[in-house]
C-alpha cells in the first residue's frame, strides 16, 4: 500500500487483523496492536509506543491527528492485497445505541468499497456506515426507524472479489 502523509509518500505492507498485526516500512517490520477504538479515535501500540490517532474522512483524504501531529493522508491500495478481504468484517454493526434513519441498500445490491450502506443516528450525530470492500449485500437486518444497540448487526455483506483472489 502506498501512503501519502502531507508531502511524504512511502510504501508499506500490512499484515494481520484489526486487532493486531505488523507493518513493514523501508524494510523494517514494526508490530502494531490496536488497544482501543471509539468511533474516530484509536489508540495503537507500535513497537511498544502508545500512539493515539484521531481520523476523519473527507472524500479520498483521511485527515488524521497522529500523536498530536496533523496529516492529510491518502492511500493507494493494490488490488491484489489480500488483507482487506480476508480480515475486514463483512458484518456492518451499529457503533453505538441509536436509531436507524436511512437504509441505502437492499438485499442483492452490489456496493463498492466506501459506499454508504446504512445511516444510524446517535447523540445528535449521524453515522454513515460504509462498505469496507466491494461487496454484495446479503441481508439487511433492520429498517428505518428501528432502535438498535451497540454492535448490533445491521447489514450483512459478502466480498465480491472471490473470482479475482490470487491465492
Amino acid at each position: 500500500m502506498e501512503i501519502r502523509m502531507g508531502s511524504h509518500t512511502v510504501e508499506v505492507v500490512l499484515e494481520g487483523g484489526a486487532e493486531e498485526g505488523q507493518v513493514s516500512l523501508n524494510g523494517e517490520i514494526r508490530r502494531v496492536r490496536a488497544c482501543s477504538r471509539e468511533g474516530n479515535r484509536w489508540v495503537l501500540e507500535v513497537e511498544g509506543q502508545r500512539i493515539p490517532v484521531r481520523v476523519r474522512r473527507e472524500g479520498s483524504t483521511l485527515w488524521m491527528q497522529v500523536r498530536g501531529r496533523i496529516y492529510a493522508v491518502e492511500v493507494h491500495a493494490q488490488r491484489t492485497e489480500p488483507m482487506s478481504r480476508r480480515h475486514a468484517d463483512p458484518l456492518i454493526r451499529s457503533p453505538m445505541t441509536g436509531k436507524v434513519i436511512r437504509v441505502q441498500v437492499r438485499s442483492g445490491d452490489r456496493v463498492r468499497s466506501g459506499d454508504v450502506v446504512i445511516t444510524v443516528e446517535a447523540m445528535k450525530m449521524e453515522y454513515h456506515l460504509e462498505a469496507p470492500f466491494d461487496a454484495q449485500v446479503e441481508a439487511v437486518e433492520v429498517q428505518e426507524g428501528d432502535l438498535v444497540d451497540q454492535d448490533q448487526v445491521l447489514v450483512r455483506l459478502s466480498p465480491l472479489e472471490e473470482a479475482h483472489a490470487p491465492d
Binding site: 500500500m1 501512503i3 502523509m5 502531507g6 511524504h8 512511502v10 508499506v12 500490512l14 484489526a18 498485526g21 507493518v23 516500512l25 523501508n26 523494517e28 514494526r30 502494531v32 490496536a34 468511533g39 474516530n40 484509536w42 495503537l44 507500535v46 513497537e47 500512539i51 490517532v53 484521531r54 481520523v55 476523519r56 474522512r57 473527507e58 483521511l62 485527515w63 488524521m64 491527528q65 497522529v66 500523536r67 498530536g68 501531529r69 496533523i70 496529516y71 492529510a72 493522508v73 492511500v75 491500495a77 488483507m83 482487506s84 475486514a88 468484517d89 457503533p95 468499497s113 454508504v116 445528535k124 450525530m125 449521524e126 453515522y127 454513515h128 456506515l129 460504509e130 469496507p132 470492500f133
Partner: protein, 491 residues
Amino acid sequence: MGRPTVLVANRGEIAVRILRTLREMGFPTVAVYSEADREAPHVHLADQAVHIGPAPPQESYLNIPALLEAAERTGATVIHPGYGFLSENPAFAKAVQDSGRIFVGPTPETLATLGDKRAARALAEQEGVPLVPGSPALTDVEEVQAWAERIGYPVLLKAVGGGGGKGMRKVMHPDELPAAAESAMREAEAAFGDPRLFVEKWVEPAHHVEVQILGLPDGTVVALGERECSLQRRYQKIVEESPSPFVTPDLREQLMEAAVRVARAAGYRNAGTVEFLVDREGGFYFMEVNARLQVEHPVTEMVLGLDLVRLQMEVALDESLSLPSRREPRGHAMEARLYAEDPTRQFLPQTGRLIEVSFPFRPGVRVDHGLVEGMEISPHYDPLLAKIIAWGMDREQARRRLLQALQETVVFGVQTNLNYLQDLLASGAFRSGETYTQTVANLPPAAPTPEEVVAAAWVAWHAGHGQSTRPRFTENREAELWDRLRGRWMP
C-alpha cells in the same frame, strides 16, 4: 441612559475577542460581515449584524461609507477597528469622528504622524531615542547606494509607504544592491503606490522587542510591559512571549521609558505598541509604532492580569480605568499563531472547508479564534486561524503547556502550520530563549516518524467502516457557539 452601541469593524478571531469583552461590559454590539463571512461566528455573537459588501476587503471591511452606513442603521455611536484593515487609517478615524462617533484608538493626527515611518523616526530622534542608523526617504538607486555605503553593509532596504515585508530586501554585499533596490522599488510601488525606499543598518543577530503602551485621556502614557516577538518568518510573527527572556530589568526600564517618551510626543491616546530592535549587547533601536491593538496582545494580558480591550473602551469613553496597581509581570505567557498555510510547500496560504476543529481546554491555556466546523477558509483574508496562548509560573512551564495544547489541537480540512509550531516550540533554540529574528529561517519542517507512518497506515487500512459524522447544533445555538469559542482567562 443606556450604554452606547459599539460596532466592531473587523472579522475573524479579533472580532470575536472584542465582542467578548464588549458583552461583558454591557455594551450593545454590532458585527459587520462580507458575503464570504455570512456564517462566520462573529456575526452570530453580536446583538445586530450588518452585511457590508462582497468578499474582497476593498468592498467590505475597507469600505468606509459602508461601515458608517452600518453604524447609522444600527445606532452605533462607537466604532472599534480591531487590527489590520482600517485600524491605523487616519481618513477612517477622521470620518468616524466627523460623523459624530467615537473611534476606539488614537486621534487621526497621531495616526497620520506615526503611519509615516519617516515622521515616526524623526519623532523618536527628537526624543533622544536611538534609531537604527538609517537614511531619509530615497527615490533613486544611486542615492540608495550612497547611503548604503555610508551606513555600512549589511543593510536592509525598506519601503516608506508600508510594511508587512513588502518592498523589503536584505543586502549583504554592495554588488547585490542595484538589483535589490530596483526590485524593492517595484514591489513598493505595487503594494503602496509609493516606490520610495529608505536604507537601514541590518542589525544581526537581533531580538524584536515591543512595548505595550496605553495613552490615557489626561495625556499621560503608561507602559504595560514588553513582548518578545523574534520568531518570525518573512517579517510575519509566529510565536510571541512576555516577558522577554532576554531583557534585563535595566533594559526593560529603558525600553519602557523610551516608548513612553515617543508616545507622549505623538500625543498618543489609547492602546498601541512601540517596536524596538535589540542587539546582543543590549543596545536598542527604535523601529516603529503600531497605533492599534496588536494580534499578540493576549500574552501581555495574561502576565499582567488585565483586559486591553476593556482598557481601550474605558479610555475611549473616558470611564474609570481597570488598570491593576501592580505592573510587575506574573509568570510567563507564550502565544503561537495558527495559520492556514503549508510549511512543506513554502508556507503557501491554504483554503478549504474546516471539517473538524477542536481546541484543548486546560489550566493556563487560552485560545482566541473565530472558527466553526463547516466554515470555509477564504483566500480573501489573512490566513490567521487562531492564537493558542499558554501561561505558566515560569517560561519553561508556559512552553510545555503551549506545546501540549498544540498537540491537543485538531484542525481537519485545511492544511495548517500546526506541526511546524510544535517543532519550533520543541527546538533547542527556542527552549534556551535564543529567539533571534533569523531562527525560523533555519528550521525545516520535520518529517513524520516511522511510528507515525505505521500508525497512520494502520488506521487508514482499518478505517474501512468509515464512520463519517456530521455534528449538528443543539437548540441553544448562541450558548453553544460561545462554548465552542471558549477562551480561558488567566488571573
